[in-house]
Assembly symmetry: C2
Homo-oligomer: 243 residues x 2
């Protein structure tokens, strides 16, 4: 187990070194998503630190969203929580308040050569093959978002032949392509609808929209997906408490 020892001489506190060690093991797939990691006592014995130090490090990891803990059961590797994504700010609740799953319509699913903007974000060379997937998502008769998704072809070879009706992508990436999405970076800015977008979303030309750009990463911080989403502005609401 002792791949790398914690070092008291190091300038960093032991529990910070331990946090980094844990994150490395997850990034390197030594501990995979959903897996139970060794108990506090085991870690303390193996790394030769006190249980309290291990506990502190684990709690930092929980705070950072990479682990979760269950009393009496153990400590587990968390999967990224896309309920925290910007997408959750598009409110499209049905009248009865039910949380239905949106329907998906595929508009485009094809293999193309990566435009330079996409290649750059995926850290591949321009012209290398990518899968382009354009779809809309609809709930209660309202199409609230249109998405352009670009995937590295080498990683997702065969995905272009999938029948994608209402399925979530990331579980498929994980199970069928051995490529779990571990984290993602999202950028958001407002815009107004162009003609094409307005038609797809059923809104007026120049109506407000929110544009979300997501780059999703797998092991070793390798980007594998770029996604541009354009959502109806009239369904976007976001609140924070400033303190």
């Amino acid at each position: 187990m002792a791949i790398k020892d914690l070092n008291v001489q190091n300038e960093k506190p032991l529990y910070i070194q331990l946090v980094e060690l844990i994150k490395e093991r997850i990034a390197d797939n030594i501990w995979s998503i959903g897996m139970m990691i060794p108990s506090e006592n085991e870690l303390a014995r193996e790394l030769d630190v006190s249980a309290g130090t291990v506990k502190k490090a684990l709690n930092v990891c929980v705070q950072d969203g990479v682990l979760f803990r269950r009393q009496g059961k153990g400590t587990f590797v968390a999967s990224p929580d896309f309920s925290k994504s910007f997408n959750r700010f598009f409110r499209f609740a049905s009248k009865d308040g039910e949380q239905n799953i949106p329907a998906t319509e595929t508009l485009v699913l094809e293999v193309i050569e990566a435009p330079s903007e996409i290649a750059e974000k995926l850290k591949i060379t321009t012209g290398e093959k990518v899968i382009k997937y354009r779809r809309t998502r609809t709930l209660n008769g309202i199409t609230f978002v249109v998405e352009d998704i670009y995937l590295i072809y080498e990683t997702f070879k065969g995905f272009e032949n999938y029948n994608l009706s209402g399925k979530f992508l990331y579980p498929i990436f994980h199970s069928d392509f051995g490529t779990p999405i571990l984290w993602a970076k999202e950028d958001i800015h407002p815009d107004v609808a162009d003609k094409n977008t307005a038609e797809l979303l059923g809104i007026e030309l120049k109506a407000p929209v929110m544009c979300i750009e997501r780059i999703a990463y797998t092991h070793k911080d390798q980007p594998v997906e770029v996604r541009f989403s354009i959502g109806r502005g009239d369904t976007f609401r976001y609140s924070i408490i400033v303190r």
Copy 2:
């Protein structure tokens, strides 16, 4: 000091009870903003719990943004951090990267009877007096936001005669009116500029804007300010990491 003892019999953990006690003391102005609170050891002695329990409670409060700690100095009551406000997502950095303070222009400063929408948010009755303050904020020649601010007249009597050039409001509220802003709730949604807004912001009609509504609270969760901000969409950028 012993206003309220911590109780081991209580169903809640001691450190949670302590967190609640601390927040009460701040809300009730027993400990005010910027003030140093008693040290870990003092609190431990007075409340008859161990130093470790106090430390845990204090760290929770730091996490919640109500306290901050300085090694070698002490633990202090934090003031709300409006660098965490939505306004920080309007990027208006100058070319040389300097962080200049935006210039303010007052458009309206008058006492009016509260419209129902405002009265409701301030928890006063419709028609009660409020101060209306409309201003723009400009940096590097770009007017990036126009704001309508409504204040309870009873609380801020005399504010309508202030000369407000580039001053921050919340320090004035605190020093001149004895009303510190302790926290605020902000809601944000996209829209497009109407004629008036477009002129003030120097953008085209129907250009994208972001609308921020803030309700700011003082002691005992009393709302005292409502603020509607409309900012240029082309300067709004926001990023998150989803994990």
